[in-house]
Symmetry: C2
Subunit: 348 residues, 2 copies
DNA sequence: ATGAAAGCGCTAACAG
DNA sequence: CTGTTAGCGCTTTCAT
């Protein structure tokens, strides 16, 4: 009990190591009877193959790396759940790299961890990688897929943030709003994470197209959390005169923070203030948030499935020179506009 | 470039493979000059060691497994962040097992994934493992540490949930409340996760000690999310007559859901209803939630550090029979009672 | 269909 | 201090 090698299984089954290996890994050229024998012996001994040995010998790791800025944020943990589920079902391990804010940590992960040949593939979420960094990864023959971020040369799954931000803003404009504020991301975040800028550009494009003025003092930034946006929104809404009639927050979390802040000032949503977000946070339901639902969990699951397909297809080619034809596809993931009760016509 | 083995480095440095191995892994018995040579050659070739080969040969994996019910929930993602940071700093990989609700998945993770000998240790969060399951893990000579859950025979880091729940309830009682409701966890959750029951017991003990009646209809359950508790709290607070004057929610998320529900009914917190939670969710600040702050991130980091120490100490003993003296310590992590503005004396 | 044998890339005694 | 020699536990040709 406890430790049992393939050798033990072979002995117990009265077969050779080679046959047991083939039998257990579902390969062809094994008689039904031998396969039975091998499986029985393995079960009896509680045999679990050493993945190190098997990886070393076969070149397949059954392990994919997932790089995220912070699992503590809603969007990323959603993606992680999606990726995790798909991987677990396929018998793959998931190695998580929670890189956080510090650039050094990002460097270490990119230059050391990811290159240790332990991973069959890597999924990078909302991470802006340089062409060189991507090449470095591709150089070790590992497919990469990006979620929610632009990865030149690698496959990506994403939504069209610019267009959707524009759509969200247009919803407000369509209701008759002209005095619209925007909550965007912090400068801090923009470094490796240019999404706030993209959504902001969408907002500004919609405003410009409608001929509405974007007031600089009505574009405030926060850290993409409820509490951060709450604080920013309080500042935004503090002055009763010259108050916007609507807010487009660059994320649902920030939209929710805004709604909480509005309530503090006695502002009714949507009668006094309309608020729209983006992403599809579960909490949006509770506060009746109008939003555009992207399904990060689904995106994660899709990314994992695509990767697994690629890996199954490419089988083994470890020593070979050519990358497993990444074929860099860029898919747009479907979204859903959810009109709930946080948006309405502006007050008269 | 791209692929370079230790052999290439040895050739380039004019040293033997063995010396290069020693030099690069910082071992003793290498002349400064040789070490320099080896490092230079490695750098020039962009050599990154294969962890499979190295693990297979040395028995050390530089990889710890982390098992959590759901990274999507605040508490768990906090722990993951803590563990991740400590591990990354130590050069360790983190393999994440997000087991979710399905018992089958839990089984698979426990019986297959964790036994694949890829892990040096495992951290299990809020997971109730049977003695047999723990023994199975210990049998493969891997230390286990549990966070927030009872693991017979393994080391654990946890808070005294029963006592703290009691303390929280007593805070309410001390303010003069007698009509106190409790929001506990779903039956669903109780299966592998008996924390709700423990906190509930603490609540009931405090009530009994004070001679207050625990009304069955005032103990409602939810799924430990804001939105779930919001729904449950709406039911609880719906009837204006016979309404509790205070609520002790078994988690901050549920306390926040309760506060949101209260607002919907026009109830002011704390004037009309006092609410107290437990855990230390960041969002608690925004709504002024009185709570008991446990620092899950810190707990995760601590668990990881303890494990790393054990691993460094035990060095190698792969083939040896005896476990690396787990010495099953059970530490209580410090907490902090945070009185904010969601609790006050009951309405007259 | 099966077994023998040759590694996968590195570490760890063991001699020098 | 350094090189030589065995493996770590599997997978995989290659014969049979």
């Amino acid at each position: 009990m406890g430790l049992a090698g393939i050798k033990d299984v072979a002995d117990r089954a009265g077969l050779s190591i080679a046959t047991v290996s083939r039998a257990l890994s579902g390969k062809a050229n094994v008689s039904p009877k031998s396969r039975q024998l091998a499986k029985a012996a393995a079960a009896e001994l509680g045999f679990v193959p050493s993945y190190h040995a098997s990886s070393l010998a076969s070149g397949r790791n059954h392990n994919v790396g997932l790089v995220v800025p912070s699992v503590h944020r809603w969007y990323f943990s959603s993606v992680v759940e999606g990726v995790s589920g798909a991987l677990l079902d396929a018998g793959y391990d998931l190695t998580l790299y929670n890189v956080g804010d510090e650039p050094e940590r990002r460097q270490i992960v990119l230059n050391d961890f990811l290159l240790r040949k332990r991973l069959d593939a890597v999924i990078a979420v909302a991470l802006v990688l340089s062409e060189a960094e991507i090449q470095q990864l591709l150089a070790i023959h590992r497919p990469i897929v990006g979620i929610g971020g632009a990865l030149a040369g690698a496959s990506t799954i994403r939504i069209d943030d610019a267009r959707l931000a524009r759509t969200a803003t247009e919803h407000l404009i369509g209701l008759g709003h002209t005095r619209i504020a925007h909550i965007t991301g912090d400068g801090e975040l923009n470094r490796d994470f240019k999404l706030p800028g993209i959504r902001r550009a969408g907002f500004e494009a919609a405003m410009a197209a409608a001929g509405h003025r974007v007031r600089p003092e009505w574009t405030v930034s926060a850290d993409f959390t409820i509490q951060g946006a709450y604080a920013s929104a309080r500042t935004l809404l503090a002055t009763a005169t010259e108050r916007p009639t609507a807010v487009f927050a660059a994320s649902d979390e920030m939209a929710i923070g805004t709604i909480l802040a509005a309530r503090d000032f006695g502002l009714r949503v949507p009668q006094d203030l309309s608020v729209i977000g983006m992403d599809g946070h579960e909490l949006g339901e509770v506060v009746g948030l109008t939003t555009i639902n992207q399904d990060p969990r689904g995106q994660g699951a899709l990314a994992a499935r695509l990767l697994l397909e690629t890996l199954d297809a490419g089988a083994k080619r470890r020593t070979k020179g050519a990358p497993p034809a990444p074929e860099a596809t860029d898919r747009e993931y479907p979204t859903e506009f959810l009109v709930r009760s946080s948006t309405a016509v502006p007050p008269v």
